[in-house]
Symmetry: C2
Subunit: 429 residues, 2 copies
């Protein structure tokens, strides 16, 4: 038997993830003691209301409403921040680091906006800052990127990193329901918030994209750097067409290295059915990594939920505890501000779904606009709808700039009604 | 700019993986210097023949045929072992560890047979032993299991960990070719060795299963503990039937926790088409991990090949270098011998494909044998083949013991000819 080191943990926030973490730490206490020589105990828990009912029982004296008293408590060895949001989480994390305590956080918003400040504070204090749970929940992603792939020439990372939108798109694809019904179902199942904006408009995925880009490429990318579009305008028609053409529609976070710069964006994407990400259904997450040496990798699992997120948090907590006992730590890195490729400069194939008046010459008119902007057509289909018709294009590779100019001019045409779907087609290359 | 620490690496073996590693280290030298403050250089390379042509150019004086001179060279900081096989690899790794040098190895055979000895030697020396490349090539698997999931209650790991057999089975499934043709094709593409025994009989996967079980469950499992069957008896008929019933056939390494004991085995498996492992095609590898907290995870990528395996090796090398600079190391663990569940005690559903004489009463006779051993039938189909017929069963859950006894008695029946396919059905639970 190895000697057992006692590690006292202060937990900030005790919602779904916090409660699941308390359970997991208790459940695994003996195993972790035997295997790692660590006796991990959560001895203080800061919450907003002590009276509130919780999924776990905590001894008297453990709970407090004064989070700062936890971060400065000399009896606390490691702080776990699961409050979310920027303040007071930021101040509390900085306080714990300043006290020389390693911190584990699942707070993507905080990292995507103040990552550089926190990484520097942890490095200055010589303690660990773990954040596996901040992106893709239970999936080991940050650690593989920080360690296994730190020397890999990573070229692109594409992720399904928002379970809510993946659930909605999967339902639209598999049950043929429209966006509103799929969203309502996701809300009734607790997969979507009452106000779903952060998920469906791509804000959540954009924050995660910023963290992924920072760690994958070693440059500081913040949430505001990430171009993002959501899924609220995706129609069943788009999904049906995608299907007939051999594609599925997924909301992807895409980060790419472009020379010295990086391109970071979140938008709905048409992905070939044979692509490994295409079969990621339901509320699962997955991250597809491409590198010059490693080739293609995919990491798949639960992106949210109490126990999976607690699992990722626990992994970081044990790592921090082992390093603390060994008197060491590993810095995240100190990153210069990234040079971001403007979205207008990016290129892809595009899917367009345009409503037009069904009269002779309209197709030529529409095709003429595309041609005028140098956007060439890969495939085209026209469907009559009585007096109106719908034209579906898949273009060849074109820049966002050319595409936006094309859309602007198309909207000027009398014969063009609504332009319903504009989707990038990715993954054929 | 951080100070740059020089790390001199001794490489043992310079075949496909070694050459790719030399390339990768050179290609990433500047990036790694800027990002990690490490100047990694491969300064000595031990090979069998100095005259042999290699994919990389090495300076005069770097090559040697005396591997031991590298492991004891005081100018060498880290040793990378890519010779393969047990001896002299074992002695060389022990020699390097005894000299206080961290070791990175991709040698599954060595670890699956002498893991405990090597882990103990590394712990005694207080240096790292990395072996990410030993299982599933470029896929980050060992590090996630050792670190991210070290506190997770892992219940089962199922892996497609042999690319050769996955290629053969994928070809049989997608092109309808028989085993012999698919094997010949794999050989012509360089995916299979001229003597394919280690791959197609499951020896390679069994060694990997032993390493996975050791790291996932924290107990010492060796290659000899792993029950294994290969794919040489799989017929196109089996694959067609599987397909019609909604399954695909994959060679899986399966390690499971059963109370205090572990079950470890490799065999062809019928897997439901909707299972994430079912869509792993071509020569790709993937490992599916189930845990009480994390739920389901899958890690997917290239299981072999020079650059992907070099990528995994490089990740370990950088980790060892960072720890060396920090004056720390992380022990793999000290594991007690595992208690192995005898294969006879394991249970699953079974697929059976039995040739019989086509006369009245035969089906009752065959079904009677199953019933006598308590093996109940889930579904059954009989196909006439002129004077003979083929009966396909899928049984309900039965023990291997009951199934083997059933097969023995079936073979005694005059009406039963060949028993062609016996496949476990897994993943419906």
């Amino acid at each position: 038997m190895q000697p057992v080191h006692s590690i006292r943990v202060g937990l900030l926030g005790c919602g779904h993830v916090g409660s699941a973490l308390v359970d997991l730490v208790r459940h695994q206490r003996r195993t972790v003691g035997a295997r790692l020589g660590l006796d991990i105990e959560i001895t203080r828990v800061a919450v907003r209301s002590i009276a509130k009912e919780r999924a776990v029982e905590l001894e008297a004296g453990v709970l407090t409403t004064d989070a700062r008293s936890v971060t400065v408590d000399p009896d606390i060895d490691v702080v776990v921040e699961l409050i979310g949001g920027i303040e007071p989480a930021r101040e509390l994390v900085l306080s714990a680091l300043a006290e020389g305590k390693p911190v584990v956080t699942g707070n993507k918003e905080l990292l995507a906006n103040h990552g550089a400040e926190l990484y520097a504070a942890a490095a200055d204090a010589g303690v660990d800052l773990g954040f596996e749970a901040a992106v893709a929940g239970g999936i080991p992603l940050i650690r593989p990127l920080r360690e296994s792939l730190v020397g890999e020439p990573v070229t692109r990372v594409m992720g399904i990193v928002n379970g809510t939108t993946n659930y909605i798109l999967s339902q639209m694809t598999e049950s043929g329901v429209d966006y509103a019904s799929a969203l309502a179902e996701a809300q009734s199942l607790g997969y979507a918030e009452r106000d779903p904006t952060a998920d469906v408009e791509g804000f959540d995925a954009a924050a995660k994209a910023a963290v992924i880009a920072t760690i994958a490429f070693g440059v500081d990318v913040v949430a505001g750097d990430v171009y993002h579009e959501g899924i609220a305008d995706i129609t069943s028609t788009d999904i049906d067409f995608a299907h007939r053409l051999g594609y599925v529609v997924k909301l992807l976070a895409i980060v790419e290295r472009r020379g010295e710069a990086v391109a970071v964006r979140v938008h709905p994407t048409m992905l070939p059915m044979a692509h490994p990400l295409a079969s990621v259904r339901d509320s699962f997450n997955a991250v597809f990594i491409e590198g010059d040496a490693v080739g293609e990798l995919m990491l798949y699992g639960r992106g949210a939920g109490g126990p999976p997120t607690a699992s990722a948090t626990f992994g970081d907590l044990l790592d921090a505890a082992r390093n603390l006992v060994d008197g060491t730590s590993r810095a995240v890195g100190s990153f210069e501000r990234a040079q971001i490729v403007p979205i207008d400069d990016l290129e892809s194939d595009f899917y367009l779904n345009v409503d037009v008046t069904d009269r002779p010459g309209v197709l030529a008119e529409v095709a003429g606009v595309l041609g005028a902007h140098g956007v060439s057509i890969g495939s085209m289909e026209q469907i009559g709808l009585g007096e109106r018709a719908r034209i579906i294009f898949i273009t060849h590779r074109a820049s966002e700039r050319a595409l936006q100019a094309t859309l602007r001019d198309l909207r000027q045409l009398d014969s063009v009604g609504q332009i319903n779907g504009v989707l990038r087609v990715i993954g054929d290359d």
